[in-house]
Subunit: 215 residues, 2 copies
DNA sequence: ACCTGAACACCGTTCAAGT
DNA sequence: ACCTGAACACCGTTCAAGT
């Protein structure tokens, strides 16, 4: 094929293609070569749009976080004067939903700094929510940090559980010695199917604690 | 060099060598070839001890978590009948400290399932702490999940912040357009140096919420 | 500016072979 | 059982060259 300008690709097109691969083949398959090939490009052509693979990964994180703020806003826009708790809850739930969408999303977020525009904007919204409720500024910043930590960690545990399930179904029953002595952890074992979706419950406890401290 | 049995290496020796590389050169440098070379081995020799790189990574996670339970116990063994809160706090703090030790530890934990013996044992201790305080079993399991999520997420945010700091110092001042419009996020900006170590504060809020719900 | 093709220094993993 | 050496199918990234 002849070199030269063939079509006009945007950074967003490449990020979309990368997400497609992330969804279908997992994080390990998101390679410069793979993304380029899915767009009919040579690997080196990608370096026209992004200076490194890391830059592409960061752009993916930003695209992921860009929808969180708007999604949370649309969830609560009907009742704009909703209490602080519902607003914070909407943000956290939107962030969690976004992380749960793509199975490799947490590895993505964990793989680099969170100092992009949308990452900072999300934090700003969270802090503003707490400040609006009359929380001292220093506490509001720490409260926002706690909420972000909880949501991120819950997503990480989700991903870990999914990875464990995949492996369990892949292994043959004979070799699966891991759960043969599961009785050694009776409490964990008994809670395996009971818990349901603990995300909202835990977030409610955290918000309870934050609310109590503010009062 | 001649093939054949030369010295007796254990899985623990290899895990130790892998942690050495993780600490000094980061997660990306933890390769089968690199670990083998640091032990004076050929890459293929490692497959005698671990069936895959993933298995080595999991063994690293297990070694990381194995010290958490004992560390938490030694922190509170003087006062064995300490209230539940202090015991849970000790576990969470020990887990956090262990994750903060190695910069690439969260990527490690996030990269696979958490179904090893020590991972399950840690969860069991946490659940037992809540149950001992009279919490219903289902709530105790969800409370333990919330604590693990918070600690994991806080470690992930720690790592992200460190990654951001490293990059900031590496970039030349001219190219650093990221923080030139930092005034767009006044709340986040103002909180940059103030927060101190928010880990304990946030954990206290979460435990407040859990305690309140139990009462 | 956008793209190709060749090349460099890496990966994880498998396989046949040696002791 | 433990190890080597060669090989396969990949990586991210750079560089010279084409349009």
């Amino acid at each position: 094929m002849k070199p030269g300008p063939r079509r006009s690709l945007s950074q967003a097109d490449i990020v979309d293609a990368a997400f497609e691969i992330l969804e279908q083949k997992g994080f390990a398959a998101v390679s410069v070569r793979g993304v380029a090939a899915s767009l009919g490009l040579t690997p080196t052509a990608l370096y026209t749009y992004f200076p490194s693979k890391n830059a592409l990964l960061r752009a993916m994180v930003e695209q992921l976080l860009s929808t969180v703020g708007s999604a949370a806003a649309s969830d609560t826009e009907v009742t704009a004067d909703e209490p602080w708790r519902d607003r914070v809850y909407a943000h956290a739930a939107a962030l969690r939903a976004r992380l749960a969408d793509h199975s490799g999303a947490i590895v993505l977020v964990t793989s680099g700094p969170l100092d992009g525009r949308h990452a900072l904007g999300l934090n700003e919204s969270l802090v503003a929510g707490f400040v609006a409720d009359g929380m001292p500024h220093a506490d509001a910043a720490r409260a926002a940090h706690a909420v972000r930590a909880y949501v991120l960690g819950a997503a990480a545990l989700d991903a870990a559980r999914r990875a464990g399930d995949d492996e369990e179904s892949a292994a043959s029953p004979d070799e699966n010695t891991l759960w043969s002595d599961a009785a050694a952890f009776p409490l964990t074992e008994a809670a395996a199917g009971v818990a349901g979706d603990g995300f909202a419950w835990g977030l409610d406890r955290l918000l309870d604690g934050l609310e109590r401290h503010a009062a």
